[in-house]
């Protein structure tokens, strides 16, 4: 058994920067690299791409990330775990094999499937958000159960260099190699809870290292243009020391670690994953050196009986238009512009939203009402059933050039399709998972 296990976090969302993962693989002395690339809506959007082309539906950056990482993984003996399979993990594995062939790099890829439960859920099932039936929301495009670490274990046992999945609970991507390497029992709730706390700290990558944290003068973070991504040295009991690669930007401090531990946690006394219900209130953190934080002490209770399912549905279109005003009376001119658009559109669009960017768009009001912004950007947005009707919003805002207040400039207009997400639960027995192997070797090429 290993004495310590080092797991790196090489991506915190689908669009994340590419190079920090390469730095971790090359200089981080890590055994596992995890790329977490699947947001709440990402699977639904991927499912729409798969509808148009059955060979797509995996992460759009998969090829670029794998082309960059494959030689480094091989050279440094790093295993990769990623949910970049999105709506089509098998096609993702085929894409990886194609890259391996081009690079002449022998590779074994294990694909974990079973999360896609669209064919299994009933439209009459109630959502956790509103207790209304799923059918009421609109045409369903995706339904994916959050798999846990257990689903990844056979893939890791297969000896695969790369494990690719669809929907898996983010911390479970990190807990799986801990369970695999240390042989934890799946009812060892305290070890699973500690591992989950570490996985949760790592899952947003740069957010542990000063990303989404910095404030000049108060929360200074060095060299953010080269922000390094984190790793954890995990011990056999699930305690860990966080760190990052030398000569990368950013910092790991008690403050960055605490912010990330509590990030998106709706109950710090009962953080629910498919593996365990973890209590983070018992976590203790200690500085162990520069950019090194010890994290221990999470405790656990038995995992939930059912799995959460994220359901994506088509929610129509949104049209937007923007125009800016600057100088004397900018706020009054922007307000007048908003009033004009409202009068022209609010019969056709009942939920018209009018924002004054630079003044009240973020918090609905200013906590300092005496402040007069030098420049203000008007933003108008509304939902519409078709792209054609959604485009009316931007057109009306653009027309303010010659029909609105003085000095309006810099108009932009947008139309995009909306995919909504609601959740429900499913019995574990109804979500069997499967591992499929894909391989490329020099022998295979010879044959």
């Amino acid at each position: 058994m290993r004495e310590t296990l080092r797991i790196g976090a090489g991506a915190g969302f689908s669009g994340d920067r590419l190079e920090p993962a390469a730095v971790l693989a090359e200089r981080g002395r890590i055994q596992y690299l995890v790329l977490e690339c699947l947001g709440e809506r990402t699977v639904a959007l991927a499912q729409l791409r798969k509808r148009n082309d059955p060979a797509r539906g995996y992460d759009p950056l998969l090829e670029r990330r794998i082309e960059l990482l494959l030689p480094l993984l091989r050279r440094h003996g790093v295993r990769l775990i990623t949910n970049m399979g999105a709506a089509n993990p098998i096609a993702a594995a085929d894409a990886i094999i194609a890259i391996a062939r081009t690079q002449k790099t022998p590779i074994r890829v294990a694909v974990v499937t079973g999360d896609d439960v669209l064919a299994k859920i009933e439209p009459s099932e109630l959502t956790l958000e509103t207790q209304a039936p799923i059918a009421k929301y609109g045409e369903l495009v995706s339904a994916n159960a959050y798999l846990g670490a257990a689903a990844l274990l056979p893939a890791l046992q297969s000896g695969a260099d790369i494990v690719i999945t669809g929907r898996v609970a983010d911390p479970s991507l990190f807990v799986a190699p801990m369970v695999h390497e240390y042989g934890w029992q799946l009812d060892d709730v305290d070890r699973l809870a500690r591992g989950t706390s570490i996985g949760h700290l790592l899952e947003c990558a740069g957010q542990l290292c000063g990303g989404y944290f910095a404030e000049p003068g108060r929360k200074d973070v060095p060299d953010m243009a080269h922000l390094g991504f984190p790793y954890a040295d995990v011990d056999a009991d699930g305690g860990a020391t966080l760190g990052k690669v030398e000569r990368t930007g950013g910092c790991i401090t008690l403050a960055t670690a605490k912010e990330q531990l509590l990030y998106e946690v709706t109950d710090p006394f009962g953080y629910v994953t498919p593996d365990v219900v973890a209590d983070f209130s018992t976590v203790t953190m200690r500085e162990a050196g520069p950019d090194r934080i010890d994290v221990r002490g999470a405790t656990g209770k038995a995992r939930p009986a059912k799995l959460k399912v994220s359901v994506g549905y088509l929610a129509g279109y949104v049209g937007e238009g923007e125009i800016s005003y600057g100088g004397a009376n900018a706020l009054a001119r922007a307000r007048l512009a908003g009033d004009i658009v409202r009068e022209r559109l609010d019969k056709a669009f009942t939920d018209l939203r009018i924002d004054l960017i630079g003044s009240t768009s973020l918090h609905g009001k200013s906590f300092d009402p005496t402040e007069q912004p030098y420049e203000v950007r008007l933003r108008v947005a509304a939902r519409a059933p078709t792209p054609e009707s959604a485009s009316l919003i931007g057109e009306e805002v653009e027309a303010l050039y010659t029909n609105g207040p003085a000095g309006g400039g810099g108009t932009r207009k947008y139309v995009h399709e909306q995919v909504g997400i609601v959740s429900t639960l499913i019995e574990r027995e109804r979500v069997p998972t499967k591992v499929t192997l894909r391989e490329w070797s020099r022998d295979a090429q010879a044959a």
Partner: protein, 100 residues
Amino acid sequence: MPKLHELAHCRAGDKGDTSILSLIAYRAEDYPLLAERVTADAVRKHLRGIVLGEVRRYELPALWALQFVCDRSLHGGVTTSLALDAHGKSLSYALLEMSV
């Protein structure tokens, strides 16, 4: 009266229509003041117009932190909201505007 911004830092997260705001003291000695003054009710009043639902507060003295879970705060939910900042990422700094 100091603003929370001088005593503590905050990160905003989201789940559906719920905004989750941490409040972490820079110094251990300021945690009792936060625990006393920054009640769930005080946060709900401060964020009136933004938070339309219930506010639950969790106390985490080992981390010098409070966690506020604010229901009905994201215009019906991140994925279908018309708001500019649909995730409410910027709400951390709305909380830090509060005076204690």
